[in-house]
Symmetry: C2
DNA sequence: GCAGATACTTGAGAATGTCAACTATCGAGA
DNA sequence: TCTCGATAGTTGACATTCTCAAGTATCTGC
């Protein structure tokens, strides 16, 4: 069993720190908009007329979980469920005007916070992107 | 309100992808060892004779939460609570032999998986570390 | 038209987290 | 010394997020 590589440990800690800070910022914006974290994630990842099942796919969770999340968004008047004309089992999720507003607010605010966090010279930002993309692409090959 | 910077969005997505994969691997190892994810995090972040309050600090959570987590670890025979001699309010957490074993297993397995994920030439690994460290250090200055 | 697959909902229950209230103990100052 | 405010830990109530199993409605292929 190989001794632990301190560089790997360091990279792991740094990766968690960065993503933790991003998440923390996102959750704070969500709370300002009277959304639970998961509701906010769902709102951002919603493509306008899309079946609930698609959202379950994006969120990597069970369909029954999506029912509850969408209940919350519907209760707040941000989305509506519309039966799909082509398949009556399917319900399409449609953003209301207020839903679009909060979604835009969430995305622009999250972008502002992320920009402050990734506070590097443009060349370093691109280099960081390339290094992370290499890792992610190799990882997706494997899966 | 500035239009969104696609590079920032990309960096955000990549950071979540990497940390998500790390977490997923860690949780899988925890499950093999009959530990919930949070119990495993607690086990790894335990410094051997330390008050429960310290663990709450490391985990960034309420003290009442730590009570339940430690209950689980104690039930599994991995830690014991020992009253601190200097301050009878305090209980020190002590790892049992089995606690040490699972802790080591967790850390080495997590390191192995992380090493496979951060599959880059050594120079790139160090460069990635430096870029992330710059971000994290600047962030900690601000807080 | 029937059998099996699919979309969504419901209900039970686990894991994680917060907050408020309580007990026990500590430390500092009148 | 005694008392008051702070601190460590626990408990109980509750919110959030998640999974699984079961049920309903609908679709598709034979």
């Amino acid at each position: 069993m190989a001794a632990e590589d301190p560089l790997i440990t360091e990279l792991t800690d740094l990766a968690f720190h960065v993503s933790g800070r991003l998440q923390q910022g996102f959750n704070a914006i969500a709370a300002e908009l009277d959304l639970t974290p998961v509701q906010a994630v769902a709102l951002v990842n919603l493509r306008d007329p899309a079946p609930m099942r698609d959202l379950a796919g994006v969120l990597h969770c069970d369909a029954s979980n999506v029912t509850g999340i969408v209940d919350g968004l519907e209760r707040r008047g941000l989305v509506t469920r519309e039966p799909a004309p082509t398949d009556r089992r399917v319900k399409h999720l449609i953003l209301t005007d207020e839903g679009h507003r909060r979604r835009n607010h969430l995305m622009t605010e999250a972008n502002t916070r992320a920009e402050a966090l990734f506070n590097l010279p443009p060349a370093d930002r691109r280099h960081l992107r390339d290094l992370l993309a290499t890792i992610v692409n190799a990882d997706q090959q494997h899966s």
